[in-house]
Amino acid sequence: MNVTTKYDRPNSYIGSSVPRPNAARLLQGRGRYVDDKILPRMLHAAFLRSPHAHARITRIDTEAARALPGVVAVYDGAEIARHVTPWQGVLTHLAGMRSPDQPALAIDVARWQGEPVVMVVAQSRAIAEDALALIEVEYDPLPAVTDMEAALTEDAPRIHPEIDSNLCWQRDIDAGDVEAAFDDPANTVVERRFTFGRHTGVTLEPRVCIGDYDPSEDRLTMHYSGQAPHMMQSVLSRHLGVPEARVRVIAEDVGGSFGIKIHTYGDEIATMAAAKLLKRPVKFAADRLESFMTDIHARDHRVTARAAIDAEGRLQAVEIDDITGIGPYSVYPRSSGIEGNQVINLIGAPYELPAYRARLRVAFQNKVPMCQYRAVGHPIAMAVMEGIMDDLAAASGRDPVELRRINLRADDSYPSASPQGMKFADLSHQACLDKLLDMMDYERLKADQDRLRAQGVYRGIGFVNMVEVTNPSPMFYGVGGAPIAAQDGATARLDASGAVHVANSITEQGQGSESILAQITADVMGVDLADVHVTTGDTATVPYGGGTWASRGAGIGGEAMLRAATALKDQVLEVAAAILQGRPEALDIRAGNIVDRDSGQIRMGLADLGRTVYYRGNELPDGVAPELIATRHFKVSDYPFVFTNGIMASHVEVDAETGIVTLLDHWVVEDVGTILNEKLVDEQIRGGVVQGIGGALYEECVYSEDGQLQNATMADYLVPMAGEMPDIRIAHVSTPTRTSELGAKGAGEAGTAGAPGAVMNAVNDALRPLGARLSQMPMTPERVLKSLRQGG
């Protein structure tokens, strides 16, 4: 796959699939994950958690636990609350959203099974767990509100007595004449109800943190497994009363995050509080049961969708009703409203759509809190719209591809906007569709499908056209009052040996952030990749910025890096010109040497320049006072987000006897703008697709009616394993974004955004001759069989 960009030239690192320099450590077992760190005098925390989904806490007796040798401290919710202020997960720009104060540990009432109630700090995790067994807590169970629709009925028990219903937030959109489209008898109208289960991230490394407090300087350090160190710094400062500048958050290696580790968790905040109170390091490492019962869950939607096309197949209107259940609190500080907001914002985005109406209701319930996880809202939006497109195609007797082609936004139609007000630019839906059909050989596949059906083999093909929100501007969180930066900063400096050191506020969880920063720097600076040294993930040493989320690392952190490296290069050339008595414009840096721009003749090495500046400054001409360090920041302006687009197809076989879905092929064409490292982009897409397949076929947090999580182990909660996954073929179209010089858009979430809908459409395509249809994820064998019995 070759995509030509303006960065294609000999020895260019931008666009080159170099292996990640920082992966060598991880391959040799030399990673530095938080749980690998053992600090002097470190203690270990463990938490007693509510066994009930909703219960009044009537008595807590910790005496026996305190008496156990090796136990250093025991705290309940009230005690922790004396040192930690509560938080509220609301964003002011999501008008009308409400969520009550959330304490670090439950006080008086526990509101989900797994909510922390008592914390034990001991000399070892084993002792702390022994102590938990000695604590007596009496509960008076309250009625659990679990079903999101029941939660919003008049007579539903209230989860928070201080607010008048279990509604966290509602948003309505009404644009264009929806009624007229549905009333017109010439139009084809379809309607369908979808259910999307709850699932969760299952990062292979569970959440883990260490708090380390130095009372002599009032400094708190958090060793953090997460994506947004500066956000965490601000959260800790606000709620623990340590000046922000005295809070340091360090994120070294992170064993997977996917949005799970970017939120405020009571157990982690309590761990920081304990470190401060005890003036000793305290570690908390969640075990797998705790991960399932406390890591944020995701999705959990019921959506009713209606759509109309005219006789020519052109979309006339879409109407959506989405209800989503978010657990007992909106999660701080990103809120649990963004997921549903994205669903209603993004439905129909790939298509020309004249009229749109939507209602979103976000309901409190007594389950694990729900919040942003990889591809936030996108999988729902894409699966709903693309499911409806297939229904419209079937109802109007059109091929699914033909109907999509009629409606796709034209590649020459940008900038443009959707009825929801989303602004689009630099997209390539049509080019992506053409490329996909070519790659998958659609016509042959359809012929095979017909032939096999005659033999009782049911194969299906499913498509998803998609957009993805990437590179968000301050309009995403900052505008709503959250301490979350939309800009990122980059510093580049030259050392005395001629090597380049860079620091950037984006973080690395394995996606290759540090690699692309090194590539951009090496490319701009004209040095070998091995001569660029990257630091990320430490608030004490990197410039201020947002971190890694919403597919923003390459596009925003990368652009800041490009600008910082460019500024450093200018500084270097200026000094070189002074030393060489020439003009900076006549010089360049190539392969680590200052050269004459035109002839390429080497004038001096960067190491010479570094040594001259730092050791023998006396040799510099008068008045030359070099700065060989530059910092630049970047945020996206003019557009609230930078959309990417792409298309996927899934090819499956459904066994009508067992209900088992076998994945045969999966194809993706994606436009991420300028490609910095194609290998890394492809692997982001592949990993994302497989996570999306997880939600489509296997993953579900199963609850009993009284709010007990039934499958909180890895043996019971199924995720995709190697044996079941197909090879995934990927191709690219490259339309750089106009919002930056680099032109890079995000790539981290597209796979997860599109895959569930593609697989669902493929399954339904396979089931169609059997008269069945499935509208619920995950599509377990049981549900497939049920749909066959019921005929859809």
Binding site: V254, R686, V690, P720, D727
Partner: protein, 165 residues
């Protein structure tokens, strides 16, 4: 805390003696007592494979075996097989294929893949590789790049052998 038991074992070629509590899993002993943190803990229930190490030549789950059960055994971890160069070709292939992202599953994947590569016989097909690593979770890669890397090494090693024969 319960009483401890003395154990002696060979870890990455070095003899180690220690007193350990009977309930300590091998993976905790390696990580916390010996500081061999390259082996990870993902579930502690024998499901995810992140803790896979080699004990007396076989790939085992370090969370299911107790340290006291390893008394007298020879244990190899990712640090050992890295330093000896034994799996350098596999590591190199993982690197080039980007068969790791966060790296948390990687030690277990490498130990599991090395077992397949050492099994002898003709180089395994992709489906066989997928099957063999199906007890190892990877939440980041989607597995394809891991299969690519293992397949490449299997074929390269077979070609090498063929060349020597």
């Amino acid at each position: 805390m319960s009483a401890t038991l003395p154990i002696t074992l060979t870890v990455n070629g070095e003899s180690v003696s220690a007193d350990v509590a009977p309930r300590v899993p091998l993976v905790d002993f390696l990580r916390e007592t010996l500081g061999l943190t390259g082996t990870h803990l993902g579930c502690a229930h024998g499901v995810c494979g992140a803790c896979t190490v080699r004990v007396d030549g076989a790939a085992v789950r370090g969370c299911l075996m107790l340290a006291v059960q390893a008394d007298g055994a020879t244990v190899e971890t990712v640090e050992g097989v890295s330093d000896s160069g034994e799996i350098a070709d596999l590591q190199d292939a993982f690197h080039r294929h980007n068969a790791l992202q966060c790296g948390f599953c990687t030690a277990g994947m490498l130990m599991t893949a090395a077992e397949l590569l050492d099994a002898g016989g003709p180089p395994p097909e992709r489906a066989e590789i997928r099957e063999h690593i199906s007890g190892n979770y990877c939440r980041c890669t989607g597995y394809q790049s891991i299969v690519d890397a293992v397949e490449e090494v299997a074929q390269a090693r077979a070609a090498d052998k063929g060349g020597q024969a």
